[in-house]
Amino acid sequence: MGYVAVKGGTLAIEESIKRLKYERLKKGDVLDVHGIECGMRCLIDQVMSESSLYSETLAAISIKQAEGSPEEAVFLMRAYRSTLPRKHYSRTVHPDDMLAERRISASFKDIPGGQILGATCDYTHRLIDFELNNETEGDISNWLHNFARDNGINSCATDLANLPKILDYLRREGLLQDCENNDREPDDITRESVKFPTSRSERLQILTRGQTGAVTSLGYAALRGYGALHPTVGELRVGHLPLYVDNPFDGEDEDDAYYIGGIKVTEVETLFPAPVQKENGVKEIEFGIGYGICYGQNETKAIAMSILDHCLETGSPEYPTHNEEFVLLHIDSVEATGFISHLKLPHYVTFQSKLDSVRKSKKSGRGKDMESDGELNP
């Protein structure tokens, strides 16, 4: 019963916190926040995405404080997010305006604008590069110099900010049902608690801030055996989206809006062949789509999100991956890790109470005989 003695808890906690700081510092080296920002791009992207807070610097500080634990770093960021007043809303962001760094399609070989591979681990061999152990600033600057020289002249004629959407091609061909833009004001899950059944805007928000591992696992489950889906990646893009806010004094004139910066996102549209009932009972196969988008470059998560978006959109009582309460209520990092870790808290009172009923059930006398022992409170 060590740590809830009648007195002394406060002191023990302070010592524990000191111990934690010691663990972070004991090797005597200060981890540079700028260094984290420069070298841990993917972790920063993951933390920003799960936190729903886009700030590379804050993410880097959180990662430092959390000693690299994404779960802790996300926790810090989310808690900080709670203190921020909502001052402005950006204008609607259109993914068509993305300045793409990477853009591929698994559906068509030749796509208008071309396949742009960009930066990705996909085509590397996962062999540990032992040379990195001895990388020097000199090496880097040489390499960067050569890289800049080779890439100096941009001979590419493609307009990277205006790449056509692949799905538009399918729409023109009539293979994908055209749908109207849904311009309904999105429900904000951080301002209004989620009620079931959810709207699509709520689902997408929860999925995009979901824990990367959880979203990936459930997406994988849907792909592997629970729903037997096999989507095709219609288009996957990584790039920057510009953000604008309206002039607060002068209404909604687009030309007066202020550019406040850009966010890097991964956007995925996947295609799912599905039978569609037409007139006179004729069946045709058309494509349904799944949509995934998340902060930073995190392609696995974005694809998994698009699978789950499709699962939840179609719904099916057969599979947990198609059940919105099952998926949406269990993929949040802060909620899942918090509730699991609360099991470490003392449960003396509740356990004592349970002991009492276990003992009562073990006594041989049943029913009314118990009254002599228990205290009655009608």
Binding site: E192, K354, S357
Partner: protein, 279 residues
């Protein structure tokens, strides 16, 4: 990068929004009001619901008491107190009489609450029907229609299987003859204290994003059958080894020297006051 936090951590808009949900909860006793639960600097499941209520209510004049499973000095109580004082600078106390807001995990203190006080209970699982209905959408309908046969059946089946109702803490209650409510996992021993309480009792479930309330002088009845009445945990013929108190909730401890089971008050500040002759 130097950033100051607002009084009571949240921005004012957030606090107002939580208070609005609280007002609705008070207006409909026992009804779970959904609210946009914020992420807190302490973990989900560690009292974020209670903490959000406390922070939304607290003013500069308030004096706060925080207890966790009966103890003012338990790890989590200390942690929560530290956060509240760090972001508000208000006074904390261990004495029930001095406190205006009491945040508690899983206990209603032994010293009776008085008028004007607010007891904030931390709730892990606010839905009393979740045991037999996993879907939130369905339980909401069941509450709306006052369709509680499932919960009665659950208790009936316990009697059939174990000879008695085998609920531990969190024995479901009927509030104001309308809503079945999870009393947060307070032991059955504390359930009767919810009935016609002089103080306002608020329940906050942060992870599950619900607030509910038992306003002062509201009837709260623990569910039971005529032939199987509600029973609290039994501490018959047992008393606190420190202060000698009887008829209070006791912790069961094994004496390391003798191997015997001994008991002491679960409510540590109550026990201390008795030892110091204040009660």
């Amino acid at each position: 990068m130097k950033i100051e936090y607002n009084f009571a951590f949240f921005d004012e808009g957030s606090k107002r929004e939580i208070r609005r949900a609280t007002l609705k909860a008070i207006a409909i006793p026992g009804y779970q009001v959904p609210f946009a639960s914020r992420e807190m600097p302490i973990a989900r499941g560690w009292g974020t619901g209670g903490l959000q209520l406390t922070l939304s209510l607290v003013g500069k004049e308030d004096v706060i008491k925080v207890i966790d499973q009966g103890s003012d000095e338990s790890v989590n109580a200390v942690n929560i107190k530290k956060l509240i004082t760090a972001t508000t600078g208000i006074n904390v106390t261990e004495a029930m009489e001095e406190a205006t807001i009491i945040q508690s995990r899983h206990r209603i203190p032994e010293v009776p609450l008085r008028e004007g006080q607010i007891l904030v209970l931390q709730v892990p699982l606010p839905e009393p029907l979740r045991y037999y209905e996993p879907s939130e959408y369905e339980t909401k309908k069941l509450h709306g229609e006052k369709e509680y046969s499932g919960v009665w059946l659950m208790l009936f089946e316990q009697i059939m299987s174990y000879g008695n109702m085998s609920t531990g803490a969190d024995h479901p209650v009927m509030v104001h003859d309308r809503y079945v409510m999870a009393p947060s996992p307070i032991p059955r021993f504390d359930n009767p204290r919810l009935n016609c309480s002089k103080a306002l009792i608020l329940f906050g479930a942060g992870r599950e994003k619900k607030v509910y309330a038992v306003p002062p002088h509201t009837g709260v009845i623990s569910l039971a059958f005529e032939d199987f009445p509600f029973q609290t945990e039994s501490f018959r013929n047992k008393s606190c080894r420190l202060c000698g108190a009887k008829g209070v909730y006791l912790d069961e401890i094994e004496d390391q020297a003798t191997g015997k089971t001994i008991y002491q008050c679960n409510d540590t500040s109550f026990c201390m006051s008795r030892l110091n002759g204040k009660i």
